[in-house]
Symmetry: C2
């Protein structure tokens, strides 16, 4: 009798102990980024996310962030997350368009939505659902990872007054925007980031596109280029978190929610951080090099780019029904929300111009 | 011997049980909002925050959100959080300017920062520190709670062509903006929200300011007013979370972090949700009432408002050294970052106008 009682007590003790243990189980995830260890603010999004997750989970979920110098495959993030070498990634969706054209429109599109319009599309108008649909075949979840805002049109050595000035121009501009430029007669070249400064300085190229003030300043282009053109091709480039579905499903529900909220908060934070850094960097560049001319492409050039864009969108839309669905969905949403952007942000800034 | 052993086992069982209990202790907080139960999207920020917190904490932190119909003190949120009747609040800072002028500049200022500039100021340029400084005397913590974006200048029955058109105009416009309007000869009146529609319809007032399309549409002003003027006085009105310091300090560190991250994410989310809702509402209003004229105030009127604003800022700055410090800090930050807003968002929207 007593012995039975003892057994019961022991069983309960073990139950308590194991339930306690289960609560405190530590989950560890590995995250690979496209970015180098000093690529601020891009690298800050996953780093800050991991720090938030650790604190919120009281150390029960630990995420190790590997910069590209660690895994040596900056453009292989989707493959590594898909294959399970990494549980998570931080990169940007249009890098995989060569492997899966459906992933193209979740970063940004030329003449497309601004960051605010695109966040509204993702979170309030069905964009998230379409993105999950596009990534379902890879058994990977995808979330916004932080926005660069409007990316600049690039650094040019001579003024672009007409469409003719683009013909024969040697420019580094990758991706869909590069295809548009090629359509207009630009000789699009691709160079490694480390070679860009020298190539522009020596005249090997006449122009190049990078990101915007926050990241361009570290490349030093403002020291050698004459014109800084405003943006048209990446009005709100969103980076991206990728999560291997199996890794995600292994987490308890509370840690899943902690991960999701931390990704969302860190993405918004990166967008804001980049806005801040761009403001400061622009001021610094113009102070040190007051002769830099900031220009918007003239109407003729813009119209030419828009026409080439429309043409190339039609071509690419034929490659996949899902891609066409997403592009049409984005275009229709932009039409709905843009009048508000004009009535609010545009007119407010117009009526308070600093010069 | 056996009996001693039994005691030891029992003691361990209790230790396990209590340690388990400590882990699972449920914390309950009460939050009071200024908003009514259907004031979307304002009320959604604290509701979504509470839902995130519940899921992330696995039910260990529960926040009950009371709309204003529950506590009947929509403008008494700071007092209730300070006094401990509520642990938290969701409202907006400039509501307390009558009690403490230092709280004025954390919502928005006429001709001041846009939502993006202001978030950058809060999170990257010292704004948060200044806000905590202003609220320290109340033993309350304060956090951004979601932004309305640019608020509209209001609904008018006649066109405003010159400063003279403002003289004698009867308008409902509260707060600092109302003082500016009064300076320009407007007869500023204050009416309860429920009386506004009838007052505008019957000509008791000639104009009124509310929020923006997302919330104005429910008030129905577009059915009876001729002109919808764009914004100048609240370019990025931020709502606010308040947290009683004692209530906050009682929480374990992980729940504090969960609360902080959920407040931040829900604030950004509300800003984006409102952008979306405003886009949709504007489209709907203009479709149903195509004769509504959207106008920006002409330069003469804007200049008059700016002049009155500068004057009133000087007057109010004299009331408190901390207020002056914050206003100067904001102004200096705006000067740093605005050229980037113009080069990015403004020029991009300008070169892609829908009409």
């Amino acid at each position: 009798m007593k012995s039975n009682f003892l057994k019961i007590i022991l069983t309960f003790s073990l139950l308590f102990a194991s339930s306690l243990f289960a609560k405190e189980k530590v989950y560890k995830l590995k995250l690979a980024t496209t970015w180098g260890p000093t690529a601020i603010p891009l690298i800050d999004a996953p780093k800050n996310m991991a720090a938030m997750v650790k604190k919120m989970s009281n150390g029960r979920l630990l995420i190790k962030v590997d910069a590209s110098n660690k895994h040596k495959a900056p453009l292989g993030i989707l493959d590594m997350v898909k294959g399970g070498q990494y549980d998570m990634g931080h990169s940007t969706s249009y890098f995989w368009k060569g492997k899966d054209i459906d992933t193209l429109p979740f970063t940004t599109m030329p003449f497309g939505m601004t960051a605010l319009e695109q966040y509204a599309w993702f979170y309030n108008a069905g964009g998230m659902k379409l993105m999950q649909k596009a990534y379902a075949k890879h058994k990977v979840l995808s979330f916004p990872g932080g926005n660069t805002g409007v990316q600049m049109g690039g650094w040019f050595q001579k003024e672009i007054k007409t469409l003719n000035d683009l013909k024969g121009l040697k420019m580094r501009i990758p991706g869909f925007a590069g295809e548009i430029m090629a359509e207009l007669g630009v000789l699009v070249t691709n160079l490694a980031p480390g070679e860009l400064y020298t190539a522009l300085e020596r005249g090997t190229i006449d122009a190049l596109e990078w990101v915007g003030p926050s990241m361009d300043i570290k490349m030093g282009f403002h020291k050698i280029a004459s014109y800084y053109y405003t943006g048209w091709h990446e009005p709100g480039a969103e980076t991206q978190y990728l999560v291997n579905k199996k890794s995600f499903n292994k987490l308890p529900k509370d840690l899943q929610e902690i991960l999701i909220v931390a990704m969302r908060a860190s993405a918004y934070d990166m967008f804001i951080q980049n806005y801040h850094l761009s403001g400061l960097a622009l001021g610094k560049m113009l102070k040190e090099y007051p002769n830099i001319k900031i220009k918007a492409f003239p109407k003729e050039v813009m119209d030419g780019m828009k026409k080439a864009n429309t043409l190339l969108r039609e071509v690419v839309s034929k490659k996949s029904a899902l891609l066409k669905e997403v592009l049409d969905h984005q275009e229709s949403y932009l039409k709905q929300v843009r009048p508000w952007s004009e009535m609010s942000d545009y007119l407010y800034l117009r009526d308070n111009l600093t010069k």
